[in-house]
């Protein structure tokens, strides 16, 4: 580990978009740092552009021509005099070559060293290192599987069910679960093709598929002075299509002993690669409460707000301090957590029809507020939700004294969300919070897909159906009425009454 001189950052270019770009700029601004936004043509009106001190256009909407284009990002930093780049998550955040280019350009990269990133970026390489460091990992192949024969042989050795996973990337892309031999070849082809599209690397490997596993991760932080601490766990087992939907902290599964042991393993893993900055060790915990490290995300995590809510710290502020070469502000024993936090991710997708992504223009938007509610979003009225980027629209997080109060607070917060014009998973989120499986805390990564009926829309409540019928009838008549310019829409209830006079529009 190096003991670099503190480098005071003055201006930060945020190489990202949406809620996470805004999130990072918020802290930068609070620290007195100027910010530079970059944007594609799809994002000219975006909140992250408006929140920034300066903004530079990168290119057309497709990521490859804008947010993934490292050269353009570095050029924008040079042009605006930014002295540091924060990559957020996704896009260039785990691209070691980009980090090297940033450093060669004389800029500070707010994130880990490229060597640490490479050590953890390739999942196969990461497995090898973790085994060497004595951190438990899931049984699986140590190398990319190259041909169908090898695939079958390895799968037989590990034993079905197995998972096929992309060596590069994350976010649930390029993953397939295979339960029987005949499915194996086609699943591998699809996973490889998806990985190729998403990450430019089609290599895949095999892993034992654990039954009833919980996905629990540990937040770690390292500095250039050799300090590494953990900020406890986040429980991320509520997933659909391998994508996290609802996270909470503390995990209903963990007790202090298991938390301590997982935290120690995470710190050991991070120390073994001289890790600096914010990172997350993802673990699977099986029904015997044995834990296995899955992978390390060498960046800020989507669900970091629930950690911030319970420990009262600003993780982006810590990232900036570490990038400046400063020591971590707190020792392990000084980090305390209070209460219970939950995050729900609002996606542009139709949860009632296979979680397919949805597009559209945001027509009406209202977001929740009041005590214990935090909203992170790039949403605004009039925003176009298109095909080019991740469908996550907003993160609603709550903090309360205990788990039960946090669940009730989240239900209350979600009830205050209004969004029309784009189909979202809001109804699905509300249903999850009402299920016995979630409320009991006894769920695993297969709970959503394994209990489709528990998470499906409940159409049975007669009263609610009546409301829908009444609303449909009224909306239908009001809509027809809009066709007549001499009968303008009005906010007054009395005007609607006129719309239903005998013979009108019938």
């Amino acid at each position: 580990m190096t003991s670099a001189k503190p480098r005071k950052i003055q201006k930060v270019l945020v190489a990202n978009r949406g809620e996470i770009a805004l999130r990072i700029m918020r802290t930068c601004r609070e620290m007195g740092l100027r910010t530079v936004a970059v944007y594609s043509d799809a994002d000219r009106q975006a909140l992250h552009v408006r929140a920034a001190y300066q903004a530079v256009r990168l290119g057309p909407a497709p990521s490859a021509e804008s947010y993934l284009h490292g050269d353009l990002v570095i050029a924008a930093a040079k042009q605006t005099g930014a002295d540091a780049i924060h990559p957020g998550f996704g896009f260039l955040s785990e691209n070691a070559d980009f980090v090297r280019q940033v450093r060669e350009a004389g800029l500070t990269f707010i994130g880990p060293a490229p060597e640490a990133m490479e050590a953890m970026g390739d999942k196969i390489e990461a497995r090898r290192r973790m085994i060497a460091a004595g951190v438990p990992v899931v049984p699986g192949t140590a190398d990319p599987v190259e041909n169908p024969e090898q695939l079958l042989a390895e799968a037989r050795e590990i034993g079905f069910p197995v998972m096929i996973k992309a060596s590069a990337g994350g976010g649930g892309k390029g993953i397939r679960i295979v339960r029987t031999e005949p499915e194996l070849a086609d699943a591998a082809k699809r996973a490889s093709s998806e990985a190729q599209t998403a990450f430019g690397n089609g290599a895949v490997y095999l892993e034992k598929y654990l039954e009833e596993p919980r996905h629990i991760e540990i937040q770690v932080f390292g500095d250039e002075h050799g300090n590494v601490v953990h900020l406890a766990e986040r429980e991320c087992s509520i997933q659909r299509r391998h994508q996290k939907v609802i996270e909470e902290r503390p995990s209903p599964l963990l007790d202090d002993d298991l938390r301590e042991r997982m935290g120690a393993a995470a710190v050991k893993a991070a120390k073994s690669i001289d890790y600096t900055g914010a990172g997350t060790l993802e673990f699977l915990v099986d029904k015997h409460r044995d834990f296995y490290m899955l992978e390390m995300n060498t960046r800020l995590q989507v669900e970091h707000p629930i950690t911030e809510l319970t420990c009262g710290l600003d993780l982006v502020r810590w990232q900036v301090l570490v990038a400046q070469g400063e020591p971590l502000p707190l020792q392990q024993a000084e980090i305390q957590h209070e209460g219970h936090a939950i995050e729900a991710r609002l996606y542009a997708e139709d949860a009632d029809h296979g979680f397919l992504p949805a597009t559209g223009q945001v027509d009406r938007l209202e977001l929740p507020g009041g005590p214990g509610v935090r909203v992170d979003t790039g949403l605004f009225e009039g925003m176009q939700v298109g095909l080019h980027y991740d469908p996550m629209l907003a993160k609603v997080s709550v903090h309360a004294a205990d788990r039960e109060q946090a669940i009730e607070r989240m239900r209350r917060a979600l009830s205050e969300v209004t969004i029309t014009g784009v189909t979202t998973n809001l109804p699905f989120l509300q249903r999850v919070l009402n299920t016995d499986v979630f409320r009991s805390g006894r769920y695993d990564t297969g709970s959503v897909e394994g209990n489709p009926e528990a998470f499906a829309p409940q159409m049975s409540a007669a009263r609610e159906k009546n409301v829908a019928m009444i609303a449909a009838a009224l909306a239908h008549v009001l809509r027809r009425r809009r066709g007549f310019p001499d009968r303008p829409a009005s906010v007054a209830s009395s005007a609607w009454v006129d719309a239903f006079r005998p013979g009108a529009n019938s």
Binding site: K173, R190, E194, T197, A198, R241, D352, H353, G354, L356, P357, A358, T359, G360, D363, R364, L387, Y389, D390, P391, S415, T418, I419, T420, G421, T423, L426, P427, Q430, R431, P457, E464, K465, N466, V467, A468, M469, I470, A471, A472, A473, L474, A475, H476, V477, R479, R482, A489, S490, V491, S493, W496, V497, F500, R501, P502, G503, A504, N505, S506
Partner: protein
Amino acid sequence: MKLHVLIGDTHHELLVERKAGGLAVTIEGETHQIDIGTLKDGAAYSLLIDDRSVDVGVEEKGDRLELLVGGTRYSTEVLGEREWLARSIQAEQGAGDATVRAVMTGIVNEMRVAPGDQVQPGQVLFILEAMKMENEVKAELAGTVLSVAVEAGATVNQGDAVIEIEPVES
């Protein structure tokens, strides 16, 4: 006025009347007093049904109205008396050929069938990609592909007809 409301495919009848200076809706013999507040015309309304407060989000999708009510999304269609009659007659004359539609807006990554192909239920017809996720669109019935509307690489909108299948009589 009398209105026919389809929620999904289920049919309901409503009577909407002016009553005592307000609106009254009768469903299955029960009458409710209604008060409407507009939050944004065509997008969001506040309803008081009797004295119960309910927010309703509305999205107009072609002839259908998608409603967001208390955490549930309803796909509805509202018809007047004559429209409902016409619809009923049409239904009796039987359905046409099976149309496979794009389930979401996206890019057709791969087209696996051509006109003349025999397909089986569950067979993958084409791959639709959006937001970096690949989705397999499968046949729901056995039959012969009559036509294929787009080539691989084309962008399709949600609901677009992509493939027509002539079902095999079972």
